[in-house]
Amino acid sequence: MKEFFADIMDVEGVEGLILFSRQGEILHKEFRNEESFEPESRDWWGLFIYTLDGIEEADFVFRKKWLYIRKTNNGYLFVLAKRGAPVAMVRLNCDILLPNLQDMEGQKGWGRFFRRNK
């Protein structure tokens, strides 16, 4: 899974990402500094995911950071970056990578994340 998101994590200024299911469960998380954040310690992600219903993508600009949110087949991808990071590169990498994330329902193992190439 780390390899799958490597291109996004490699964008300068990106601090981390979290992949959520449609129900707000954390499917994958990765931070440049592994001790940075523990999203599992909060129980309100599900509510936010629910509130995002119908939103394809969102940018939230904070004083110090930028949060990019993109709808995926599985749920939502959150990408956290420093202010001033080349956000267009993050979006471009999402455009390229995320269509390969397959709907997880009914599948097990890492294979559930990847679409089979026909």
């Binding site: 969102a58 939230f60 600009v61 110090k64 950071k65």
Partner: protein, 347 residues
């Protein structure tokens, strides 16, 4: 006195059926029905509502966003959530967000009535008083350091206001669309009222800073002033499409502060040109999303939320600026998003 129940659901048959059932129940309820969250918000701003019963899945503003809005702006109004699609996780989510009860459709009318009666009973569990002056009684609450929510009905006009006490301190007040000290001054100036006391403080924010004695004195002074001088009344908010009317401050001078909408327009116009966007407006239906994004920003130690961009795969996208009422600018999907966000997030 009848309690007003506001039912929100896009299923018109269900609305009619619930209205008929509740209207006929011992003459206790006056039922208002609307088909979406936006209309519900307009009703809440202009009418006194005792309880809201809302569906979850609705177009425009869904039940969760409506619940968040009510929990923030009208914390004294209990909300019953009903849904056909819920899971135990959904129930946990809505209760965490402040719902008083949760009903899984289909349910019997009896279940809804039982829920309503339980909720309304809790609102008077601390006692009821009739024909009293609130100013005199509330000083007792201060002395006893009570934590409670007091619903006040003015005997002549039947206006309903709410006062929130925490450990004897009056921390907030609400009267229709007025909040904080403005609402408190009005309520405290009433002479003969009925009071109902709920043994918990439902306010989440401390909007009132002064002590009760000072508030009562000021309320009396304003009442005397009103009697001797004619004041123009603020225009009532008309039901609209969810866009909030600009608040008009009675007695203030025009131009004291820069108009937030005009500041945004001036920042956006040079980038998009005069016709490239819809004129900025305030829309508090976005407040819930903005509040949750702010919470996430705090979790990530990101600092204050400056601006947001939302793409719903519609013709227009939305630029959002946080505030008491979210400022919204509708722009084309292919607008220079990053330039706009950079401009809008400047201090």
């Amino acid at each position: 006195m009848k309690k007003s129940i506001l039912i929100v659901d896009d299923d018109k048959k269900l609305l009619a059926s619930l209205k008929e059932g509740l209207d006929g129940h011992k003459g206790k309820y006056r039922v208002l029905t609307v088909s979406n969250g936006r209309k519900a918000i307009n009703v809440l701003k202009t009418r006194d509502v005792s309880v809201v019963v809302t569906d979850l899945k609705m177009p425009e503003i869904n039940g969760i966003n409506l619940l968040s809005y009510i929990s923030t702006r009208f914390p004294d109004i209990p909300v019953i959530v009903m849904t056909a699609y819920g899971t135990s996780n959904t129930e946990k989510l809505v209760r965490n967000e402040g719902a008083s009860d949760y009903l899984k459709k289909p349910f019997k009318l009896k279940a809804l009535i039982s829920s309503l009666e339980g909720i309304l009973k809790r609102q008077v569990e601390g006692g009821e008083l009739h024909n009293v002056s609130p100013a005199m009684f509330l000083q007792l609450l201060e002395v006893e350091q009570r934590t409670c929510t007091v619903r006040v009905i003015e005997n002549k006009s039947h206006k309903e206001g709410v006062l929130f006490f925490k450990e004897g301190f009056l921390i907030d007040a609400r009267l229709s669309g007025l909040f904080g000290e403005k609402a408190a001054y009005e309520i405290l100036s009433w002479e003969k009222t009925s009071l109902a006391i709920e043994n918990q403080c439902r306010a989440k924010k401390k909007r009132i800073q002064g002590d009760l004695q000072a508030l009562i004195l000021e309320a009396m002074r304003l009442k005397d002033e009103k009697r001797s001088v004619q004041h123009p009344e603020a225009p009532e908010g008309a039901p609209g499409d969810g866009r909030d009317e600009e608040v008009i401050v009675v007695g203030g001078e025009e131009g004291q502060e820069p108009d937030g909408l005009e500041v945004v327009r001036k920042r956006v116009a040079p980038i998009l040109g005069g016709n490239g966007f819809v004129r900025p407006y305030r829309d508090s239906s976005w407040n819930s999303l903005v509040a949750q994004a702010t919470r996430i920003g705090a979790f990530f130690e990101a600092g204050d939320l400056k601006a947001g961009f939302i793409n719903r795969n519609e013709q227009n996208s939305y630029l959002l600026l946080p505030g008491h009422q979210t400022i919204v600018v509708e722009v084309a999907l292919d607008c220079p998003r990053d330039r706009l966000l950079k401009m809008l997030s400047k201090d």
